[in-house]
Symmetry: D2
Subunit: 133 residues, 4 copies
């Protein structure tokens, strides 16, 4: 298993599954966002406090490989790594995997790039916002 | 404006916006999926009928550039093109844009690859499923 | 058909349906909220503008009868009536129905009570906020 | 604190909050459904297995009092009681509360009536389906 900066265990909820009986493709972005925000918490940071201070973290690019679909009741992990690729851009590598036969099996593989904007959607001028991450 | 195979007009609903007052990054995948399914309808095909016949259309890869965030009340278009990149793989190019000052302004740019599986998540053997699309 | 103050036509989107192939019970609240906000628009009012002015419309009570489930592709109407039941409480009666054989068939019947709060969750002191509705 | 049949601890996720910074009114129905399904699990039953056997549990009535809004990061409990009010109707009483100053504070109070239908939306003929609950 890779060496993640942060690992979160979650479980599929039935309302997240669609007619096909699998987790809808959009819901994985909820899982990924939630694990990024929990990672912030672990660092002592808080998404909604940033919003109150007029600092918005905005996703600007995602690339996701859906290898296997999660289903009702599946327990899974979101593993997270991140690096600063410019003063105002963070790149997250996020894997969603289940443990099967005592081994991690990769279900989803994601790259997410996040930037910081003010409340008007302009890139922040002060560029030390990601220094703590 | 590009020459799309299909164009759908939609409007942001307030419950789709998050604390930051912008459409949440996951919701765009709902918009994109809905416009693909409406495109199927236009061809006389129907997502839920396929499901009843044990044929699942599953997203296996997405790449999305979020250029500008949609906000409460925004009206927008989803433009769609698609091509068969293998017997069992369809590649959709989908743009989300608003009309501003009589010109289209690109908000989101997406590539989505979809395949067809049976109800057990195995790739379909019969590979003429996308012939009509 | 009842004499509604406002009527909105909508269509079920596939991602709103759950494993059972029917619209998930929570999604109807999205439909109802969206039609209330479109009703505000018709009156020249705007939910997100109120939020910017630190006035939050908050649902405090709902009663919903689910008579028949909506399914993939269904087109339906949300009919809305409302009355002020106190200076700071609006009661909405909202019906969701489909047209079948040229007659409206009731699918969902809802009573929703909404109040107005400041950003700290305190009831507004100025109680003329609903005068325009 | 009341004597619940089942208690589930959950946490607000940021994508569940709307422009007002509070959990959207529809999302509470997700919480309530998820806790009912986890309660079934505790009894050795499984919502998605029922669906595979063409038995759908369908919500037919809800009454919800929203007393205080949940916000980003709030941890809360869903307490659940239930009783069979007819061979094919289960009534759930579900409370959502937070622990504040070592005491439970009620945020949401819900009554949910659920019935069992076949895949065509007809009430089940065999009426022992809820005997195990």
């Amino acid at each position: 298993m890779k060496n993640y900066k942060f690992l979160l265990e979650l479980e599929v909820r039935d309302y997240e599954c669609d007619i096909q009986g699998i987790v809808n493709n959009a819901v994985y972005l909820n899982y990924l966002e939630h694990s990024r925000h929990k990672f912030l918490n672990k660092l002592g940071l808080n998404f909604s406090s940033f919003v109150k201070n007029k600092i918005n973290f905005v996703v600007i690019k995602i690339e996701i490989d859906y290898k296997f679909p999660l289903k009702s009741g599946d327990k899974f992990f979101v593993g997270l790594s991140c690096e600063k690729i410019s003063p105002l851009r963070l790149k997250f590598l996020q894997d969603i995997f289940c443990i099967q036969n005592a081994k991690p099996k990769m279900f989803v593989n994601a790259k997410i790039i996040v930037t910081a904007m003010d409340e008007n959607g302009k890139l922040l001028k002060k560029n030390n916002i990601f220094d703590e991450i």
